[in-house]
Subunit: 514 residues, 2 copies
């Protein structure tokens, strides 16, 4: 069927979609979300069909920007439109829906269609849900991981040992990576670190690092920085390493499920060629993994999958019941990390965690006394020197001093209403307040803590300050603070946690960071 | 946040969706597919968020027609936009994803949000997939059915006994309902029959009936026809009986899964107040249910669910290996049904099936020798008389003769290539040919069969004729006929069905009719 193009001037979120008039669709015998083959004189592609009675008249095909660009269409162009074959990736998805195990080839076809935008949101959601419902065994996780690697770009470094670290997320104020990368690089090892921006948190490592230097490098630039300095801290989003993950995340987030946790993390690591990896699994209320038992089970899965992929993997189950250090929010955290690297501040928990993780990596690659070596590299200033090298090569100000990092002008002090000990910290509440203050978009927004668990507090004493870039954000911060208790102060824990009178009111608390 | 409206001039398929500029979305701290509360000076509602960098500028909110209509928005209006609460139906869906059983109240909240357009396609797809993966037990099926009934309109008739029949679909050329309804109504029983249009088939009962009379009645008109004649044959699509089903079907079709089969069918029956029901389960290759064992299991589920719903239910497992009668396509089938009702033609298989099903209904409501009574009503002309009454009350030509029903002008005869017996008929192939010919949209398109299983065929003898309204459709019919073998002619079945050399090429064959 020959149809004239009508440009809609809309994006379809990377998907290849066209809109047909109902009459033409019925004439073709195609339903909504079926697929058509579009042929121009030059090119052709398969697109998903939406159907309308109003927007697109009969004899026209409504074209989104993605299809227009892919087919390089001009105004007044005509397209030959025919019903397309049923993509075999859909048959594989349907098999997964029956609980069947899928092979590498089948996962590859699915992931390829995911990356190329050939699957509708309904099909993607069904696939992700089936993965959640039936789970993935070790062979399937391996196949899916490799399929995600093979459908993207890869970093090729001429090095025998390539280190990497990763946090499963949920630890509030976790600036560990900003210390681990320079320590490892200063030790002469290679660590091409890619990081994410915040999804549900108040800031990802990429958001923190961006306060100090550009992080949106392309793969060539990243390679140059690593070859020069042994390390880097860049945003993974523009590198096209395992790009299917970016699509899956869009589906997982609204569903609050995360069945692709292992393949997602490991595919990004495999794509940069890592062969020595430490996975940090923060553990505690408010983090992703709530109990040590769950953390151990997850660790076992990572280690097994690592073995299959040729990545020597160890896990660090870490304490995550309260923020690391005293800061939350990109600028405050970047400043705190720099204060530790420049030895201006001694923050035992942060230094401990960073040297623990760096130490494990050093021992995996042959050093003895890894933690001690890591601590020496930090204390000697070699880590600072390396960090400034990386900042310079990524295009930041390598001379920057901690006090030069700007923080939001509008502050709100929160004081204790009674005397006692800090008994607990509400981690997800802290994240919510920081996001209400404007983070991660407003980099200067955040929280400075003065008290942590176990500290003695007087009535009226400052517990923390919330900073905003924009004064109007303070209003929202106040509202969140009214609804959420952030710190528990008292002599001992109260016995009644809460009373359940009827059906509890649900709150979406879901950490997708991984 | 105050935002100016920008009308997009697009429909969102009944869903309440708005588009925010990325900057505003980040400022609100909301991600794609999150939810916002929109408040105008008069009204408010919750909508799902899509995010753009191009189409909608900062400080504007992009408005689809559904939201515009619901909020009654004028040009240059401003809306207060805030992050909305997490709907509790999503929590229930998430629980289903964990394999938990849901209560009536929980299904009700989900179905209500489905009907009101409050759930995104991703959320719907995930729910439908989870129902498919985990199944529904009897209590859940009951709850979901009742929730679907309660969120729609209901037909209220002042009758003690209300009959109904339903076919699970997949039988090609099945015009049984056109006979059963007048037989039952002529017997003095009430049968308010709603039917569907074709989804994946070449014609639904509503498509067939529409050749003879209007079928898109509203609930009041339907009630009037039934009160006058004891019966009707109307399209269910405009009646808002269990309307959630229409949304679920949109999701199930692209996924080729049908986990809502039982609640869908039974909710429509409950909504018209049926308390005596026969479910026809056609069984055979090319139908929905392939084996008698599967049909019996499905029958058991229908009967149990019926008991819970207060609907006395029996099932008829029927032979579905070839078309019923000799016609496929709305007009050809309407004509064939009328030929039987007017006693011009004796088609044993069609008469058999219609009087079997009518007979079961008659016996359920107290008659003895149901099949015999049904046959008498048909043979005596009482069924024809009743059928013409129904045609008249629904606004059709009650004097119509079979030969006045028009058939497509363009015919293509298919002849046998050899001598032998008809050994098998490819039912899904017949459907595909009929759809290629233009049905169900082109009502006059279809197939007239001359031979059926067991018939002797000479070389060159006509097997069937394909009719089209439009000559250009013949081209597509020829293409399908090249790819599909429709009838197997030979002395005996060949032993090799087919050879599998490598991964088989998949074909989407999925019957959603129910």
């Amino acid at each position: 069927m020959k149809l004239k193009v009508k440009f809609l001037g809309l994006e379809a979120g990377g998907k290849l979609i066209v809109i047909l008039n109902q009459e033409d669709a019925e004439d073709l015998g195609i339903r909504s979300l079926g697929r058509v083959r579009l042929c121009s004189s030059q090119k052709e592609l398969t697109a998903i069909v939406n159907i309308t009675t109003r927007v697109v008249p009969k004899d026209y095909v409504g074209i989104y920007e993605e299809v227009r660009d892919s087919l390089d269409l001009k105004k007044d162009a005509e397209l030959e439109v025919e019903v397309a074959k049923y993509p075999s990736s859909l048959q594989h998805i349907k098999n997964k829906l029956k609980g069947k195990k899928l092979s590498y080839e089948e996962f590859f076809e699915i992931v390829k269609d995911v990356v190329e935008g050939n699957l509708s949101e309904i099909e993607l959601a069904s696939f992700v849900t089936a993965l959640h419902d039936f789970g993935l065994d070790l062979d399937e996780s391996t196949s899916l991981t490799l399929a995600m690697v093979e459908t993207g770009e890869k970093l090729k470094l001429n090095k025998k040992i390539i280190c990497d670290k990763h946090s499963c997320g949920g630890a509030v104020g976790d600036k560990t990576t900003l210390l681990v990368v320079p320590i490892i690089a200063a030790a002469g090892l290679t660590i091409p670190k890619t990081s994410s921006r915040a999804i549900t948190s108040a800031g990802g490592t990429a958001d923190r690092a961006e306060v100090l230097m550009p992080v949106d490098l392309d793969l060539e630039e990243m390679k140059r920085v690593v070859e020069k300095t042994n390390g880097c801290i860049v945003w993974g989003g523009t590198l096209h390493l395992a790009p299917a993950d970016d699509v899956f995340i869009q589906i997982e987030y609204p569903l609050s499920i995360d069945p692709l946790l292992l393949p997602s993390i490991m595919s990004k690591k495999k794509a940069v060629g890592a062969n020595h990896l430490v996975i940090d699994i923060p553990c505690g209320r408010g983090t992703k993994v709530k109990t040590i038992e769950d953390a151990d089970l997850l660790a076992k899965d990572f280690i097994e999958l690592g073995k299959k992929l040729g990545i020597n993997t160890r896990c660090a189950v870490t304490y995550g019941e309260q923020p690391l250090g005293y800061s939350i929010g990109p600028a405050l955290e970047a400043r705190e990390a720099l204060e530790v690297l420049t030895r201006r501040k001694n923050l035992p928990d942060l230094i401990d965690k960073a040297t623990d993780i760096a130490g494990i990596l050093l021992e995996m690659t042959g050093k003895v006394d890894g933690k001690k070596s890591a601590l020496e590299i930090l204390k000697s200033g070699k880590a600072e020197e390396k960090f400034r090298e990386i900042i310079f090569e990524q295009g930041g100000d390598s001379e920057i001093k901690p006090e030069e990092i700007e923080i939001g002008d509008y502050g709100l002090d929160i004081r204790s209403e009674n005397f006692g000990l800090v008994l607990w910290v509400n981690n997800s509440g802290l994240t919510e307040v920081t996001r209400a203050a404007g983070a991660p978009k407003d980099k200067k927004a955040g929280i400075q803590l003065y008290k942590k668990i176990g500290n003695q507090v007087k009535k009226g004493e400052k517990l923390f300050t919330v900073y905003c870039e924009k004064s109007r954000k303070l209003e929202r911060v106040r509202k969140v603070l009214e609804e959420e208790k952030i710190m528990g102060i008292g002599k001992r824990m109260e016995m009644l946690i809460h009373e359940v009178k009827e059906i509890p009111v649900y709150k979406k608390t879901f950490i997708l960071e991984r």
